[in-house]
Amino acid sequence: MLNFLFRRLLSTIPVLLVVAVLVFLMLRLTPGDPAAVLAGDAASTEQIAQIRATLGLDRSVPEQFAIWFGHMLTGDLGQSYYYKMPVTTLIAQRLEPTLSLALITIVIAVVVAVPLGVMAAWRFGGLLDRTLMGFSVLGFSIPVFVLAYLLIWLFSLKLGWLPVQGYKRLSEGLGPWLYQLLLPAVTLSVIYIALIARVTRASVLDTLGEDYIRTARAKGLPEAKVLMRHALANAAVPIITVIGIGIALLIGGVVVTESVYAIPGLGRLTVDAVLARDFPTIQGVILFFSVVYVMINLLVDLSYVFFDPRIRY
């Protein structure tokens, strides 16, 4: 197990390294000169040259990468052009809203999608199954911001049940925090529900054909127990996997959802940084999201041991 853990950890290093190179190159291939952007329109040539020297932009590209990479390893992602503060601090400030939104979304998605998927597989070909499959195609197709406005229009403007926009910190109380985030989380969870329900259905459908299900039924086990203890438990690995892979979808959705609901999180920061052409911040946020994504999928891999005792590393 330890041996595996070590090897699996090592295997993420090349991926992260490639990510770092790609993110670095992405912004080095910019047509514009970051120093000129930073200096503003009124700056003289000497001022621009000076800024270029302080940023290290006058060095060769490999040298720049080495410096940037070295700083990154010590947790220094550079200075934001626009917000005039370290990118690391900026990310830390914006982390709470995004983390809250993501957590509530995942909880809603799993609580809704897994039972739906199990039921659909149980009554394969039935009304619920067909409805769910139809809904999941719809869920994949309806753009998250269109859905967001639809829900705002219905629940906030027409019914007045939930707030239109904004965010309340967890320190202001669990109630207000949840109340503010409910609509964004429901919006964001729809595509995730579609994904998880589909995979749950397919996976449970597979296990329901196994001999041990017949045995369990033959010995008179209640159907609920057959489904939960035998079918779902054995179908867990693909479901956990898709939850991990879906994080990429979730991150993309966070960018849009936070923008619509005016939540001051990392997604909003990404869009603001792009609009302000704040390259160190863009770089930092993309890097941060990618590392989180890789790490979550590492955890997913490791959790297989927990969900399926047959798997030993």
Binding site: P14, V15, L16, L17, V18, V19, V21, L22, V23, M26, L27, L29, T30, P31, G32, V137, L138, F140, S141, I142, P143, V144, F145, V146, Y149, L150, I152, W153, L157, V164, R198, V199, A202, A248, I251, G252, V255, V256, S259, T270, V271, V274, L275, R277, I282, V285, I286, F289, S290, Y293, V294
Partner: protein, 310 residues
């Protein structure tokens, strides 16, 4: 050409005996393919015939016709300075532009972006996939780059690239296509690796057929079905991501009528005038849904192995 006449007669006869429908027939009979295909055909016709569908030039605006609710009649001034009475079926935006015309013309942009994204992603994906599958020394490094690319959430890559290149149709398409390339590469590579073990490929290799010819003649034809399926899903996601980019204000320039841009303009006034968001939103959702339904149908008929997985 040189087939004897009696052989031809035999083959025609035996073809009538076989009741198994051909792949093409199965595709055509599939309900999802029909539904999605017909919906897309209608959208395609809308895009082509946009000028004749009661629209005005989508860039025309008239301060006198600002913020009209759907169905209201107002004035609109053409580029020649002529003032027309125009019925704003879907209302107008805060500049006094006709939402209906902008949405109808937006169909063109969305369909072009969707198809172009799929073509670009497929072209590079096939190239890299064939290279990785055939050139052992390149396989490792190339696939590690693809792994890295896949570890960055797709929308973030697109947003960052568009931010640097400034939005134009070409840059938006490339920015959306790049995060899709690794998936196509992986698919093609895995297909190549399994097909190259087939006896007919081994035979071709042992006969000394040049590698490019083997790829072209033996490998590529066998990747067509799964790639068509993949292409429809890339098309759907391309349309979606373009709308997201434009909506966030980082995509195509605001003067180009795209569904995302129309929605972006409608954001500030959503409380009073939700139609600015809903009409383009409905078109967008229906289009993506149609492509996805078509893709589902194609997957079920063309690629049964993949259909079983999900």
């Amino acid at each position: 050409m040189t087939t004897p006449a009696n052989f031809e007669a035999l083959s025609v006869e035996s073809a009538t005996v076989v009741t198994q429908p051909s792949t093409w027939q199965r595709v055509r009979r599939n309900g999802s393919v029909r539904l999605g295909g017909i919906a897309l055909l209608i959208l395609l016709l809308v895009a082509i015939f946009a000028p004749w569908l009661g629209t005005v030039d989508p860039s025309l605006f008239d301060p006198a016709s600002r913020d009209l609710t759907p169905g209201k009649t107002g004035e609109i001034t053409t580029l020649e300075g002529e003032t027309l009475q125009h019925r704003f079926i879907m209302g107008s935006d805060s500049f006094g532009r006709d939402i209906y015309s902008r949405v109808i013309y937006g169909t063109r942009v969305s369909l072009i972006v969707g198809v172009a994204t799929a073509v670009v992603a497929l072209a590079f994906g096939i190239l890299f996939g064939l290279m990785a599958g055939f050139l052992r020394w390149l396989d490792g490094p190339l696939m590690r780059v693809m792994d890295g690319l896949m570890a960055i959430p797709a929308i973030l890559i697109a947003i960052a690239l568009v931010a640097m290149w400034k939005g134009s149709l070409l840059t938006v398409v490339i920015a959306i296509a790049i995060p899709e390339i690794p998936r196509v590469t992986r698919l093609v590579r895995s297909l190549v690796l399994s097909i190259r073990e087939e006896p007919y490929v081994e035979a071709a290799i042992s006969l000394g057929t040049p590698t490019p010819l083997i790829m072209w003649r033996h490998i590529l034809p066998n990747t067509v079905a799964p790639l068509i399926v993949q292409a429809t899903f890339i098309c759907a996601s391309g349309i979606l991501v373009e709308a997201i980019l434009s909506f966030l204000g980082v995509g195509l320039p605001p003067d180009i009528p795209t569904w995302g841009n129309v929605m972006a303009e409608g954001r500030a006034q959503f409380n009073q005038y939700p139609h600015n968001i809903f009409f383009p939103g409905i078109f967008l959702a229906v289009t993506v849904l149609a492509v996805n339904i078509l893709g589902d149908g194609l997957r079920d008929t063309l690629d049964p192995k993949m259909a079983k997985r999900v």
